[in-house]
Symmetry: C2
Subunit: 190 residues, 2 copies
DNA sequence: GCTCAGTTGCACACCGGTGTGCAACGTACG
DNA sequence: CGTACGTTGCACACCGGTGTGCAACTGAGC
């Protein structure tokens, strides 16, 4: 089957997210296939990880674009983004995990456009007074972003509770008052 | 010299913090010593990492105990803790980094008392109404704690700006209003 | 029934890191 | 001066993961 390749990529995303040092053997058996078969689809482990990372980044970039298309305030855009992102947050866990170690440089480069968009949203929010100025926009966006993954690693990961928690927490980091953060997390409208 | 052992531990802390997969050779040369010498002080890489982790954890535990000894409010205790922790935050980077991968279990166990104390502080704060209830105390403390290290990884790491940013951000996560957070970050008094 | 693509199950060479053994060296301390 | 300890610079065996080669098998489509 040609969807073997797809299955390998999907499984590798999970496996590497949990255990970034997993070898080709581990990935292969998780995909219900033999190590040799993986090499039939990807010339090297590096190449597998590369395509994996590209796929994950393009998915998050798409979600971000959708959320950013709205003409809502920066806080609503952020909340919308986190809500959309949540169902596939495990697909990015691998990016966060892989960002340290061998592939760090490469993934950082792939993520650069996303980082920039995030920073611009935060910057706009700061300009409008809905976000705080306790940190420069680029760093602030990174910290808020990272918190989402921290929460994804907790017990809350499953269910909608996680999405709500991630949204509220990241908004708090951005300097949004608690009441407003909760309102944004609950109702998609203003 | 017998302080060779100390130097190895110190250097390993930095090296592994930056690059958790560093080998004995890398650590050795960073310590200005030959690989064989490291094995003269530590029977195995595992043992090196173990003593390293114990040392780092006991340092942070000491700082936490100091901060927690005060009878201030939970928010002031937290701010005090982060301020004290900041100068040696790089010594824990290694713990955070190592928490994923091979030594995860072990480090998690070492950190358990710290985690518990942190959670109890947050719980007290929630009871007093100074911290929010958007997350259960144990998870909330972990997220706030993790944010400190996220900030430590940014450009702000050096200087007092980082300490201030880390304190404010973690307090925001805990649900402290921005004005109060800034006040706590600036003045040690109420 | 034949073909062909994908898969399997070995075999192998290679590499890098680990941990050990041992002889030689230097030097601080008696 | 001599000795004793820490360090050095090899040597080596071992292990686990990578990537390749090749023959055999399977199964779906012609």
């Amino acid at each position: 089957m040609n969807d073997t390749r797809e299955r390998i990529l999907d499984v590798a995303l999970d496996v590497l997210g949990q255990h970034p040092d997993a070898g080709m053997g581990e990935i292969a058996s998780a995909a219900g296939v033999v190590r040799r078969t993986v090499y039939g689809h990807f010339p090297s482990r590096t190449e597998l990880v590369r395509t994996l990372a590209q796929r994950a980044v393009s998915e998050v970039a798409a979600v971000l674009t959708e959320a950013n298309a709205s003409d809502e305030g920066a806080d609503a855009v952020w909340a919308d983004f986190i809500a959309r992102l949540w169902p596939l947050v495990h697909r990015h866990r691998v990016l966060v995990v892989l960002r340290r170690g061998e592939y760090g440089e490469e993934i950082h480069a792939l993520l650069a456009p996303v980082d920039r968009t995030l920073a611009s949203i935060v910057e706009r929010g700061q300009g409008d007074g809905v976000f705080g100025r306790h940190l420069p926009a680029d760093i602030l966006s990174q910290v808020a972003w990272a918190a989402v993954f921290t929460i994804a690693d907790t017990d809350l990961a499953a269910g909608t509770a996680g999405a709500r928690a991630a949204t509220i927490t990241s908004l708090l980091i951005l300097g949004v008052p608690e009441a407003r953060a909760k309102a944004l997390a609950d109702g998609p409208g203003t």
